[in-house]
Symmetry: C2
Subunit: 308 residues, 2 copies
């Protein structure tokens, strides 16, 4: 998987991943009205609005960015219809040859971990028939339960050429509460970083990086710099740029000298760009995708300053 | 929420929760064939088989046990149809007045955590209309991201009388890899246990326990005994009894002197009881529910030895 992601990053000269975390208040009225006309102001209507909105976002950015990261929580809250909108979004993005990082942050054990792995990155089995259900190229995972909660996913990474990003140091204000606890002079996030680097040796690509990556928040640049050294062959999925306060300058420590090693997420900064005051004046509601596209172009330029 | 769970435990004199973690090979042929006739050997067919199987399990045990714990991974692997089967299972179990613990182990931040909370234990919002989507009474969460990943759920616990069980010490073989790391003389699971106890003070019930509980594995009785002392007002959701190797003797440390404080999960031990060699001889395939019921009765008796 990681080779495919790196190729796309190099082809687009852009290490951006666009977070597809729709909220109804991001979506222009004409898209919502069409969806509500079909399904009412219901979870099904919301799910349809998400999907139609995502398609227009994807159309606006697919030639600029290498990857998208749908956040499953936004869809899951609307039940089965929401999950179907998540899956349809992924399928549409794959038609546009985007790499898909499913932000699911699952973490469980034994046959439960296998069920998550089968559905998301492997194949769900029905009496020997195998079904690809979610179609992600890669997913995020939480490793608090230990290696046996990760191992079933690695098996599917090897079999189906998929990838993982394991939570190491997250971008939120309270992330240090557990992640920064110190064990014999080392922080928990460093210890998990070392584990992730070790696990990753099983799934090395041809370009010096593993298909098992790490989630490392842009809001903690010092920690990111430490982790970059601990795990030189691990790709970082970096949330926290833009809306959460991380700047391009904060990202320097996430990259290696080869200009690779990190893919930077922006969600609201791109998919809600049309709601910024200045953009509201410049673009009509139906032209929202122009604001979205422009924000993706500006982010690419901003990241260019970091990686040269 | 915790008051309702304790009342049900006292009424049934049984601190058992039945794990509704279906797998197709647990399900009798006649149930699967009916489902496949309607939907084919597809994810939709598997989801329908899960739901019909669950209904028969619930019918067989609802007068004996206080609660059920559907494991969402098993359903999620089959996409939107699977999620709908999960929700329908919960609705059916609620009709039978069982307490529902949704085993979802989610953990995320900010608006993402809010979306999970809204969908599962709060209300999903569509243009001001509020929808109850998943109907769980309580859900499991992973706290690796810190308090701001838990807080949105606590808000919904207070507003909608719901509960949480936060992963503290899990039952799997590798659980110690991170959870048993030592920080200044204390293990990570102890530190998280203390946090969970503190968070729980916001949601105290009237019977001495909080609606914020902890997941503590039966397979680690010494750790459970330590945690029982650290968090006297926290209810434990205890996986690992039965199929994973935990015995009734191992459970002693999970309970307080009042005979309360823990609800013990069994999944395969009950919902696949009919596949045990002896039961295969004693019951026909269509009578599988008799084996299921008997195993629930036996578990109740086994737990009686522990709590008296």
């Amino acid at each position: 998987m990681i080779d495919k992601l790196i190729e796309k990053i190099q082809e687009k000269e852009n290490p951006t991943v666009v977070g597809l975390d729709p909220r109804l208040n991001f979506i222009p009225e004409h898209i919502k009205n069409d969806a509500y006309e079909k399904f009412g102001k219901t979870p099904e209507g919301a799910a349809e609005a998400f999907y139609q909105f995502n398609c227009q976002i994807i159309d606006a950015i697919y030639d600029i960015v290498p990857a998208v990261k749908p956040q499953i929580a936004m869809y899951e809250q609307y039940g089965g219809a929401g999950i179907e909108a998540y899956i349809k979004t992924i399928k549409y993005a794959k038609e546009k040859e985007l790499v898909i990082i499913g932000d699911i942050k699952r973490g469980d054990i034994s046959t439960t971990a296998e069920a998550y792995a089968d559905g998301h990155i492997g194949r769900a089995n029905v009496e020997g028939e195998k079904f690809e259900v979610y179609h992600e190229d890669s997913i995020t995972l939480n490793a608090y339960l230990g290696y046996d909660s990760i191992q079933p996913f690695i098996k599917d990474c090897l079999e189906y050429n998929k990838g993982l990003f394991v939570l190491v140091k997250t971008s939120n204000p309270n992330s240090g509460q557990i992640q920064n606890l110190e064990v014999g002079g080392r922080k928990i996030y460093e210890i998990i970083g070392e584990m992730v680097a070790e696990w990753g040796q099983q799934v090395m690509g041809t370009k010096g990086y593993s298909s098992i990556g790490a989630v490392v928040g842009a809001t903690y640049p010092e920690e990111a710099t430490v982790l970059r050294k601990i795990m030189p062959h691990t790709y970082f999925l970096v949330p926290g740029y833009g809306a959460q306060g991380g700047t391009a300058e904060d990202l320097k420590g996430c990259f290696n000298k080869d200009g690779l090693g990190a893919v930077i997420n922006s969600s609201r900064g791109i998919i809600a760009a049309h709601l910024q005051e200045e953009n509201k004046r410049r673009f009509s509601e139906k032209e929202f995708y122009l604001a979205v596209r422009e924000s993706a172009v500006l982010m690419k330029a901003d990241l260019k300053k970091v990686i040269g």
